[in-house]
Point group: none
Chain length 273, copies 2
Amino acid sequence: MSKAKAPQMCDPDAPVVILVNPQLGENIGTAARAMANFGLSEMRLVDPRDGWPNERARKAASGADFILDGVEVFDRLEDAIADLHHVYATTARPRGMTKTVITPEQAGRDMRARAGRGQRLGILFGRERWGLTNDEVSLADVIITAPVNPRFASINIAQAVLLVAYEWYRHEHGETLGMETDEAPALAPGLKMPDSRPATKAELIGMFEHLESDLDAAGYFKSPDMRPTIIRNLRNMFERAELSEQEVRTFRGIIRTLSGIRHDRRRRDGGDG
Amino acid sequence: MSKAKAPQMCDPDAPVVILVNPQLGENIGTAARAMANFGLSEMRLVDPRDGWPNERARKAASGADFILDGVEVFDRLEDAIADLHHVYATTARPRGMTKTVITPEQAGRDMRARAGRGQRLGILFGRERWGLTNDEVSLADVIITAPVNPRFASINIAQAVLLVAYEWYRHEHGETLGMETDEAPALAPGLKMPDSRPATKAELIGMFEHLESDLDAAGYFKSPDMRPTIIRNLRNMFERAELSEQEVRTFRGIIRTLSGIRHDRRRRDGGDG
């Protein structure tokens, strides 16, 4: 790990993840990994059942050690959130509390807006078996509840961390697939990145005519009436594939091999092939 | 568990989750739980390392046993996707392949749109250590890549399942915790819908194997080393075209005509042709 990389791993504005009374080291480690996936780096633990550090957490973190190394442990939730400006509590269902309930997506936007104004943010995640107590939730400003299947609403704690972290990251980096570093040019979603340059229409039509002429020679078009329709459908099919120039050449090679017909556009006696 | 609850657990339109060569039972179980959280129910395994059933998967599923009970196991990915119309491959980063790359969010919308048109959908997740092979990705129509921290891009497999399942569920159950939205599902940008029913993967793979076998017979592959790459490129090219069932039949007719080789899948002496 080079030192130069570390600063880019972390975003000092990113919310702090606070796990309240977590039971399993595995979940702490998996949560750390999920945080690293989405640019969060600061984790705090309130009264972890098995103490700290925890070897199982480290195993499960799959390399997100820089997060575990920075973990701070507190006895009381009040102390763990003391320096924060705005705190979100995650719950499986809205509680009967007079508190705003938002989705992870809304939380993602809200966190970005607040971080942009210099607020320090924290997100609370409860213990595996029964989440946060009402007293703990009451220390938060807002509740985050994910839209889940009401018949199976219990989300694993590390999965809950992932969802909120994903929404935090997505609202900054959302549409660019995280490629906006200088490693590679940004790939706009939905766009294809062909290996070689796209075929020109002339190349494509050359390929169509090659195929159609060989099909004529092989007696493919039993009914002359249907020939125009079939050809149109074939051409549509290939247009849809948005072939590259290389693919057109490959495909012409295939037609030539299968039909055994050579179309020598230019005779060559010399040996450059 | 009352019987009345079961039907609401499952959504028959929901995409099938296909784990390719998964190594750890824990991840299979956690993936099942994530599926249950977001209304997915059908899981398929291709060549699970530790066989099936798997006791560690059951422990990690935290009650999502109805998903594990229904798991189907396959030796080959081709068989696991045979009955599906549209398949998404999840990768940590865009590969150097000419295939559309979309975000989980776009995938959520796209899956809703396609499921609404009666298409059967599948999502591929690769093995823990190194994901999907290029050959496996080439069997998919589209790549899903989540926007992640480029410095820490490796997502746990169950976490990846969670993200895509979350986006599937969110685009039906909305921004508002279960309140329906008016927003019509939209196809991901750059994706097109063919006129007649899309080919199943079995039909498409049948066409690939037909073409490849005739190319073998005709001596197309001069260099055996290049054969796998050429085949992968060809498959990618055809996957991109999102062929309809009719187009697959047309194309097989073309191969048959050009090569002059008949593949009688079922010998017939009677005269219905």
